[in-house]
Symmetry: C2
Subunit: 426 residues, 2 copies
């Protein structure tokens, strides 16, 4: 039996890497004062198909089906519609602005390729109920600090900032009819990726060409971004940002600032992206709740690839993995007849919060030590003929003391205080 | 727009409760030396339909569908088949015994009712590659310590221990043909829940009655459990366990010990359950890998309900929620002209690991303090006319000092050392 294509198995070494990304995401979001929320894995397909919602590409790639109750449902392709639905239903319960984040699986039905899977993890951060430049800047600063948290510096990534509003102003000034706007935006989003002829064909009904779009991008007016850049400069983060009107974003619902985080290596992959979506909450509720909103998403697949290629980022990961490996104490049992004593020590230390292991089967003492060291255990406790005294051995330094078993937790804690490394705080 | 029936929205207050369960689950599993793994949310339906796999009830309740590539797929109803598939593929890479845990969403298509949802979270813990009583006991001890971690004591829950092997011996001794065994086990599993006549009708083809099953249960021989009980006694945990042959477990693949954790209040809900499934890995691989295995699952729905009904458990939860509420520092900005200075302090403190908030909009000073206190912030930093000096105020004690802004991180850290509460370690 095999897993499905585009889906991942997380063996322990993979799950540990995922947990690293998870913990960093959470740490930075909480440092910015964001509160976690989450929605269901499955939603009504309607949530994504509604007018003004998502975009053509995301609908094509929707992992949707009809369930046994004949409901049209979809595995969530992104979090924003769920968030907008939740906020429209209960916004009265929360003080504004709301700063919310979520971390969880999202799904797209698309061909598997490097950096693109059918199930991936995504961090989403959103500020709701504030339409100021200060919240635009807070959002971009958060994206920057997420990258810095993994060990990436200014030479490694850039946040490209653009404005969906500037795009709309340009398109409307050219007299494009409303129904053609989505296809113009989609063409603009694909400008550097799709074939020129195909794009021109797509733009023709709107009376536009790729050359027109390039002219608009080249002539973009950076003055409109001055307040944002001043705010970022006060944070010392303006050096991570470039104004670049070629950024459009594929999703239909953006209304103002849009941005993407790119790696600066040759590949120029997008690591995160988002923007302002001021109309979406009214569109997904009954219309009675309307509030400005801005958010972004960061997926784990491209990010994890970039971490593993980047020396400083992968060194930080490896250091974390090493610190999280192995248990605090491996109990070494000399004589099987003392298993009851060993089980008592095992339970007493676990009750004090230490991670502890004891072999299930009769095992030679040398083999027990070998297993303890290979698994990264920090201490061995040898239970033998000196009982109720036991040997406490620090495996890295090979220092050894003899203590009454009842004082083991105390000795382990003292060792930690004195800088002998240990993961658990008891 | 509404969410689907049987699926949950996690607003921040719900997500915090989920995170509490999540952190406790992880802490106890790691204390027992378990390593995290995970599989995909979606699997081939075949994985659950294979002979010797899962059981009739789980197949009826499978949340399965045909995807756009005409594959028969299912949202995972439980983790064991995924684990067995993963282990069969790569067991050579891992030292035995393997102690693995996972935490994530599972899905069942069934009518929504109290304690039963279509999407729920489940902790799974498994020991692979060891068939000893010592690993049986380790598994039960882990289940007990999970309950104790949430504040439940011996009067609150019981682990009922039984043996699928004893059931098989009984059924085979009665000359039941192999194809009828699953329906006998299912009837036994429903003995106290379904209607007597319906059960007798189900048992008739096997030449058995409810009375026969009850006689077997009453005559169960506890001697076979003596080694297990001795191991648990050495851990001081035997008081949490009862031998009870009425426990059968609905899943088809169990082969030896089976157990369930029940709350002892009137409702007697099952909070967790599992058992030994020694043949499953061979059945799901190509047969070349065969190893003993034991595991259990604990869902979040019944557990969370029980926590909220139980005074000590809900007090522990509330204490955790209170400690995890609010940021380390709320910056109070007296004069909007000093926003750049405030942004510099904001970034400097976040860079040092503190969680910090600054209002996006011009806000009266009194209102800023009120918001800080209501949100549970631990300190306020007032930026005003004394700049580069700032006021550092500890909100619970209302003590106040004036410090240069460049020494804020140091002062906050000193406060934490001296027992002034703060969540972040910088």
């Amino acid at each position: 039996m095999k897993g499905l294509p585009g889906f991942r198995d997380f063996y322990p070494e993979d799950a540990a890497r995922r947990q690293y990304v998870w913990e960093k995401w959470r740490a930075v979001a909480e440092r910015y004062g964001f509160s976690e929320y989450d929605g269901p894995t499955l939603e009504s397909t309607d949530l994504y198909a509604k007018k003004n919602e998502s975009g053509a590409e995301i609908l094509q790639q929707l992992y949707n089906f009809q369930d046994k109750g004949e409901r049209n449902v979809a595995l969530r392709p992104e979090m924003t519609p769920t968030l907008a639905r939740m906020v429209a239903a209960r916004e009265k319960n929360y003080r504004k602005p709301m700063k919310w984040f979520s971390m969880g699986p999202c799904f797209r039905y698309e061909r598997q390729q490097k950096g693109r899977l059918r199930e991936f993890l995504q961090l989403n951060c959103d500020i709701l109920g504030d339409g100021s430049t200060a919240s635009d800047s807070e959002m971009i600063a958060l994206a920057i600090d997420l990258m810095r948290e993994f060990g990436f510096a200014g030479e490694d990534f850039v946040v490209r900032v653009s404005s969906r509003k500037a795009w709309m102003d340009f398109i409307l000034a050219r007299g494009v009819s409303t129904d053609l706007i989505p296809s113009v935006l989609q063409a603009a989003d694909k400008l550097e990726r799709d074939h020129e002829d195909a794009l021109n064909a797509r733009l023709a009904p709107a009376g536009l060409t790729c050359a027109d779009l390039r002219e608009f991008i080249a002539g973009g007016s950076p003055e409109a971004f001055a307040p944002l850049l001043a705010d970022l400069k006060a944070r010392g983060l303006d050096g991570f940002v470039e104004i670049d009107l070629s950024i459009v974003r594929g999703l239909a619902y953006y209304t103002g600032l849009v941005f993407e985080v790119f790696d600066k290596s040759r590949s120029m992959r997008a690591l995160a992206g988002g923007g302002r979506y001021d109309g979406l909450i009214a569109a997904l509720g009954d219309g009675s709740v309307d509030m400005p909103a801005i958010g972004f998403g960061m997926g784990d697949v491209v990010l994890s690839n970039y971490i593993s290629e980047h020396p400083a980022a992968s060194a930080a990961l490896n250091q974390w993995l090493e610190a999280h490996r192995g248990c605090d104490v491996a109990i070494v049992l000399v004589d099987e007849a003392q298993r009851p004593e060993a089980l008592g020590v095992l339970q007493a230390l676990r009750d004090q919060g230490f991670s502890v292991e004891l072999p299930f089967q009769v095992t030679k003492v040398g083999k027990q030590f070998q297993t303890a060291e290979q698994s990264g255990a920090r201490h061995a406790v040898v239970i033998g003929s000196e009982w109720p005294l036991v040997k406490l051995k620090h495996l890295a330094t090979r220092t050894e003391t003899q203590v009454p078993h009842s004082e083991l937790a105390q000795s382990l804690r003292k060792g930690q205080e004195h800088g002998v490394p240990g993961r658990s705080a008891a």
